[in-house]
């Protein structure tokens, strides 16, 4: 393929890159070099090779990008094929990242996609630092928060001033059914994932007493079998695997028995699957729209041809087509992107360590998953609790029932919190309310 061919092939992109217009960014310089930059030098990382990821790869490759890394830990399943169009029946069981990369590299000569069949947590700072822009098409909030934290940890501050060249923009897309959103994040400069954590509704959970004593919905019956009956009867000598039809069948039959017992109607196999696997409905069209919006933003950032989305767009095409763009605001004391430790109000001096852990998990602006806490007590760093390492968990378990005061924490104490939602430990400052402090002094 000669350059003449490439010249004709990209004639669409060349018009907007080699001509200026009234809506361009002021710093935009029309030039043939821009296209070359996209295809040879601009390094992108696409996270997730699922519904959004497949679309993103196609869109970015056809927007002239030639250097793309792709990371995904999943393998292909039958239920992916209604939207993840780079995969075929014969690919079921294979790595999403590898199959998707191979497909794009074959279909679009000149585009180089490098797959990484692993978790994002398996890669280090040096890996992430090489990219110009990171695009995430994830269905997991924890993973989103983690990559957000990673990009923030790559920022350089000199005398409190952010070194702009250390900023790696993150474009994030998300979909659910006929709804979706796309956003542009400039870490350290604009609202990050943690700044707007309250946009993600906490997962629906049913109170234990409802599912045990007063079930009303088929969902309550399914949850009962999942959280009470399965651990007790342990039918297959292993935890529930939502992808194992035998497991789903067992849960279906048991929850159906329970539904019949309580005269609860509407229990279906599909519902059982949905509840057990926490399935989010998905359709090709919404993924196409959101991925396209993300790709346009990548193109704008990489070429400066027009200003970026500032900075959040929502879509809903249930009733006509509705889109809305607005500026999500940066949080002054954001856990991830501010330099200020988050204050945690402690209203009761008898509060136990386990209660503090519960606060970290339940508050909508924290939503942690398995927090571990260390603190500097009397000049020494002490691990107060760590859930993720079994030996440390055992040693620190007894701290759970101790009060914060007993553990040596005081008003103003800083705690370091580690959690799977972030690659870095987060510093928080305990603020005992005045009345508590008074009692302390007595």
């Amino acid at each position: 393929m000669g350059s003449d061919y490439a010249h004709r092939k990209w004639c669409h992109l060349r018009k907007v890159l080699e001509r200026s217009g009234p809506f361009c960014r002021p710093d935009f310089e029309p030039s043939p070099n821009t296209l070359q930059f996209l295809s040879e030098n601009c390094k992108l990382l696409v996270i997730g090779a699922g519904g959004l990821g497949c679309e993103l790869l196609k869109d970015l490759a056809l927007m002239g990008f030639g250097q793309i890394h792709l990371i995904d830990m999943d393998t292909i399943e039958l239920s992916n094929l209604n939207r993840q169009f780079l995969f075929r029946q014969k690919d079921i069981g294979a790595s999403k990242a590898e199959i998707a990369a191979k497909f794009i590299n074959t279909r679009i000569p000149g585009c180089h996609v490098i797959p990484h069949f692993c978790k994002i947590q398996d890669k280090d700072e040096a890996f992430y630092r090489q990219f110009h822009i990171v695009i995430s098409g994830l269905d997991s909030i924890v993973a989103r928060r983690w990559i957000n934290g990673m990009l923030i940890s790559l920022l350089n501050y000199e005398d409190g001033e952010l070194d702009q060249s250390s900023v790696i923009p993150m474009i994030d897309g998300g979909t659910e059914g006929f709804k979706g959103n796309a956003r542009v994040i400039l870490p350290g400069l604009t609202a990050c994932i943690e700044c707007t954590l309250d946009l993600y509704p906490p997962q629906v959970t049913y109170p234990l007493c409802t599912i045990a004593n007063t079930p009303r919905l088929p969902e309550h019956c399914i949850e009962y079998v999942k959280v009470m009956q399965w651990p007790k009867e342990n039918p297959f000598d292993c935890p529930i695997d939502g992808d194992d039809p035998q497991h789903i069948n067992w849960i279906y039959e048991k929850s159906n028995e329970r539904a019949v017992q309580f005269s609860i109607q509407g229990l279906t196999y599909r519902l059982v699957q949905g509840v057990v696997k926490n399935i989010i409905p998905a359709v090709a069209s919404t993924n196409a729209v959101i991925a396209a919006s993300c790709s346009t933003e990548v193109f704008k950032l990489a070429t400066s041809c027009c200003s970026s989305l500032n900075n959040y767009m929502v879509l809903n095409d249930l009733d006509g087509i509705y889109t809305y763009t607005y500026e999500a605001e940066k949080k002054e004391d954001c856990l991830a992107c501010s330099q200020i430790p988050r204050e945690i109000q402690i209203s009761n001096s008898t509060l136990k360590l386990k209660d503090l852990l519960a606060i970290l998990c339940e508050r909508v602006d924290l939503q942690m998953k398995n927090p571990g806490i260390t603190a500097n007590v009397n000049g020494k760093n002490k691990t107060l609790y760590m859930q993720t390492v079994a030996s440390i968990e055992e040693k620190t378990r007894e701290n759970l029932n101790r009060s914060l005061v007993e553990l040596g924490l005081r008003n103003g104490s800083e705690i370091m919190v580690a959690d799977s939602t972030t690659p870095n430990t987060v510093v928080m400052k305990l603020k005992f309310s005045t009345s508590t402090t008074d009692i302390d002094m007595l």
Binding site: M1, Y5, K9, W10, C11, H12, K15, V16, R19, G21, P22, F23, K58, L62, L78, S79, L81, N82, R83, F85, R88, R107, I108, G177, F178, N213, T214, R216, P245, I248, N249, Y252, N256, E257, V260, Q261, S263, Y269, R270, G274, A282, V283, A284, S285, N287, V289, A292, S293, S295, F299, C306, S307, L309, D317, L318, D319, G320, I321, T323, T325
Partner: protein, 538 residues
């Protein structure tokens, strides 16, 4: 007696493959999709993006009409053409490559231009479910729009130009039963409960319940008790904020107290207080539904009436005769704090009445079918039940013919004129796009298509737009910026812009096919520069 638990149903491969979308439009939506045959005119990048999002979810069949041979620049904008196929038929290769996406789908192509087909075999379009066009020139569009208007087949016209995308749907009449509203208020009928519901409420005396039962009474019962009391004291339901607040206070005073006279935590009462805002008003049939029921098509049924109108008439007759001017009951009760027995018995009351209402509507439907000389199995009981469940959200959309928009004698320019008065309005893109179509007719190219013609084309495009605005009786455009910008694009198709509209157009197509959710009404514009969009009715 507990029946033995049924064995898990065997899940077909098809069910498993489409699982994530079946949760959105159900098995009946999927069946409609699998029975549909769509036609795409011009397999541009935009065209194949639309088909991609229809082939993946399993549309029955597609046909591509395109006379073009694949060029180098097609490869740069279209994912469903490979670089080896330059020079071959665009219709043929696109069909082949799209079919690789889903073995359940059938596809074929005609490598003739739409102009030829429109001239030689206008009947060609008779059997499609929906027709979609991209980059279709004005003259063919006008002819096609007239043909499909007469055939009553939805037409979706799409364009992608630089950073701007445009979509227009044309349909004579589109009726929707399942609109999937985002927030549905429960249909509780507390102001005027039907007999079995009233009996159920009357059988419960809140004061006599022990504490455990008192904290487990469904909020619907609590709300009814206090509303009944309110009505007996005030003669009517609470109407304004103040009265509703008083009702809330009344309910709050019913919360039991502990030994220190502090109110105990009764979640069911809190739920009742919360529901005051939405659930204590006088029952009213939504005005949009009344409009459907009072429509000529509903009142004057003929032998050719669509099932939608026949069932709507049956519902109207039901309301006026057996339903005391209320729609058939929805029958769904939201989840609420309650013990199983109290909740289920309440649910049963609503459920049984809904079934009885649907049964009555079904009998009236059969009667109407007989009256207009149609077989009584023309509509199934299942259809009637579905209609009754969604009766408070039914929707009708009546469109306009695209050809009228292009004819100075029939065009209704009021929407354009009005929108253009607002300098922020995205209507300006519609105007420029129409100007470009005029330009194409006159000069047989896109403005700015050739590098050395950009400046002169700006002048020519401005002239085309002025002519159009004059026809509509509008003043000139406030700024030339948009004209410059479109000449910069020079007819280019940016893939990510096409992919954006492609996804949306596919979803609009699915709305027409499944009769679920409301389609756009009727013109949509997307600006990728600002990431904004707007809809207009033209």
């Amino acid at each position: 007696m507990a029946s033995p638990s049924p064995k898990s149903p065997e899940q077909s491969e098809r069910t498993r493959k489409y699982d994530r979308q079946l949760r959105l439009w159900g098995d009946h939506g999927q069946a409609a999709l699998e029975g549909a045959h769509v036609c795409l005119i011009n397999a541009t990048g935009l065209g194949t993006e639309i088909l991609k999002s229809l082939v993946l979810p399993g549309i029955g069949a597609f046909t591509i009409i395109d006379s073009k041979k694949i060029s180098d620049d097609d490869i740069g904008a279209n994912f469903f053409l490979d670089s080896e196929s330059v020079g071959k038929s665009r219709a043929e290769i696109a069909t082949q490559v799209l079919l690789e996406l889903n073995s359940d789908v059938r596809g074929d192509y005609v490598d003739e231009g739409p102009e030829q087909i429109l001239s030689n075999s206008p009947d060609f379009f008779n059997n499609f479910t929906v027709v979609i066009t991209t980059a279709l020139p004005e003259k063919s569009l006008i002819r096609l729009s007239k043909i499909l208007w007469d055939l009553d087949i939805p037409l979706i016209v799409c364009r992608s130009l630089g950073f701007i995308a445009y979509m227009r749907v044309q349909t004579r009449e589109h009726t929707v039963i399942e609109t999937h509203p985002d927030n549905e208020t429960p249909d509780l009928r507390l102001d005027n409960p039907f007999e079995t519901l009233k009996n159920h409420f009357d059988s419960i005396n809140l004061d006599e319940l022990d504490l455990k039962d008192h904290t487990h009474v469904p909020y619907v019962v609590i709300l009814y008790k206090y509303l009944e009391k309110w009505i007996s004291e005030n003669g009517d339901v609470p109407k304004n904020y103040k009265e509703k607040q008083q009702l809330r206070d009344m309910i709050r005073s019913g919360i039991r107290k502990d030994e220190h006279n502090n109110p105990i935590d009764e979640e069911n009462f809190e739920e009742a207080i919360k529901a005051v805002n939405t659930s204590v008003g006088r029952y009213e049939v939504p005005p949009s539904v009344m409009e459907v029921l009072n429509d000529d098509c509903c009142i004057n049924l003929t032998a050719k009436s669509k099932p939608f109108w026949i069932i709507a008439k049956a519902v109207k007759d039901f309301m006026e005769n057996d339903g005391s001017n209320s729609l058939p009951l929805k029958g769904a009760v939201p989840d609420m704090t309650a013990d199983t027995e109290k909740y289920i018995s309440l649910q049963q009351v609503y459920h049984k009445q809904a079934a009885a209402d649907a049964e009555a509507v079904w009998r009236r439907t059969v009667h109407l079918l007989r009256q207009i000389g149609r077989p009584s199995d023309a509509i199934t009981e299942k259809d009637v039940k579905l209609f009754c469940r969604h009766a408070s959200n039914i929707y009708i959309q009546r469109g306009s013919c695209i050809a009228d928009e292009y004819d100075p004698k029939t065009v209704d320019a009021s929407e354009m004129t009005q929108s253009l008065e607002n300098p922020e309005s995205m209507m300006v893109y519609y105007v420029v796009l129409r100007g470009i179509e005029k330009f194409q007719v006159e000069y047989n190219s896109y403005p700015g298509e050739f590098d050395d013609h950009v400046e002169p084309d700006i002048v020519k495009l401005k002239a085309c737009i002025s002519k159009l605005l004059m026809e509509w009786g509008c003043g000139p455009l406030a700024k030339d910026d948009y004209v410059h910008e479109f000449c910069r694009y020079g007819g280019s198709e940016l893939h990510s812009v096409s992919a954006f509209l492609g996804g949306l157009a596919a979803q609009e197509t699915i709305k027409f096919i499944t009769n679920q959710c409301k389609p756009i009404h009727n013109t949509f514009i997307y600006d990728a520069v600002t990431s904004n969009s707007a809809s207009f009715f033209i």
